[in-house]
Symmetry: C2
Subunit: 299 residues, 2 copies
Amino acid sequence: MPETAILTDVVVRDGLQALKTVVPTQRKIELVRALIAAGCTRLEVASFVNPKLVPTMADADELCGQLPRAAGVQYGGVVLDSRGMDRLLEADLDWGGVVIAASDTFLERNQRCDRAGALARIVEIERMRRDGKTRISGYVSCCFACPYEGPTDFEVVAELCDTLLQLGVDDVYLADTNGHGTPPKTRELLNRVLARVPADRLGCHFHDTHGQAIANLDVALLAGIRAVDAATAGLGGCMFAPGATGNVASEDVLVLLAAHGIDTGIDAQRMAIAGQSLCDELGLLNNSKSGQALLAAYQ
Amino acid sequence: MPETAILTDVVVRDGLQALKTVVPTQRKIELVRALIAAGCTRLEVASFVNPKLVPTMADADELCGQLPRAAGVQYGGVVLDSRGMDRLLEADLDWGGVVIAASDTFLERNQRCDRAGALARIVEIERMRRDGKTRISGYVSCCFACPYEGPTDFEVVAELCDTLLQLGVDDVYLADTNGHGTPPKTRELLNRVLARVPADRLGCHFHDTHGQAIANLDVALLAGIRAVDAATAGLGGCMFAPGATGNVASEDVLVLLAAHGIDTGIDAQRMAIAGQSLCDELGLLNNSKSGQALLAAYQ
């Protein structure tokens, strides 16, 4: 098995996006600094979307202007249209995440377009990127189920992954938007998707709503997938997905990766301290079991 | 794959044992009633140990005298010696759990005896049981690691499982006392243990200290194991194992079992309500992700 993983901490974007409170830009920068100090090298930091619809991300441009630019550290953000891509390019981020849902209803409610419309926007975004620099990651949301339509047809997910790669995205992430994945479903989904897409161009963005995310990631790692999104302290959710709670916790993912012989160079305890400090300030529960255990051992 | 599982909810014993507060007997009975109403059929309710050493379990005899005896509902308790077994038989419980550690240091500190001494006590307990009625489950604690000695030799675990079955226990449980298990380690451990012990006589008692327990159980289910200990709301710990936090949450286990096509007949939402009500009263955090999600959906 390979010894490296591409771990992206999404707490600054996905972890804070659905909060009712807007976290001040300076606090976000402080969080970014703490995570880089802990050894994180890939951070999703913003959504370049309509600030009226997503006020927690309204400071995206300002935030990106103040990011500490350290060697080996990469930043990314979510872009849904050419206007967002303009802002991402202006912000000089390393990658953009484009999104399509495996559910038409979810796509309609979340991005206000149909599948053809979403793909057209992705093509437009693709065309705008600076070749060789700005990478594009494609996300297939509702990969297991949709809060409105129920269980997803895995063949649709596989087809969308394939289509995104054909349109030129660099990699595709299976996004379990509302945490409906289980290990058996993950095995079934990956069987379908890996028949069309190579494991080294596939990633996982799992939510831990029902406590199955680490188990699902174990399945993905066994299948050869090495790109994983996770959020410090397991924060996060989706404001358009009722009942969707935290992303899988980065601290817990580190334990799993280490068990698979994969070292990320991240200091889990420093990460846990950064996460707990944020939770304390915002009055949120720390959703990382390992983070809590590391902090208990630290005290 | 078989469609049944032997799910034992251990919240009344393991969930409450390490608490600093002593939960009143009547409150424990109320919890038992709520769990039975939710569909639980196997409950570990007490430890028949020295009440001075474990004050939270001092009411074991009184509690057992008040248990609601419903058809199809079985109760068990922990017994470490013949004195404990006397009390368990007097209490008319359905099974006793005997314990041996894969670590000599842990055994010495936890049970104040060496391996030979612990096995001798188990033989004594075995002899006392009412044939055909009182079942005995053997627990091999520290199955992955010991807080004092570090990583466990899996060959020792396999040998102890085999020995316990030869001594006459009905089944053996791998107990991850301090939550050091990971999916790769679980695969390795089960490879060793299943070479000596059939899957239908093996169970798992996992703690979720580092968020890996559901993933470990997925490995165990794939290996054919069907006996699982879990605690409502993921409560629990071990007062003799520093850093050991909650048992794997029953609500999250139900999601995994259902995903494997195993129906327990338990109403997860009613269980989650019972768990949250207990957490609220005791000022504890609910450690079940699925429990929290079910409650959010319920409100």
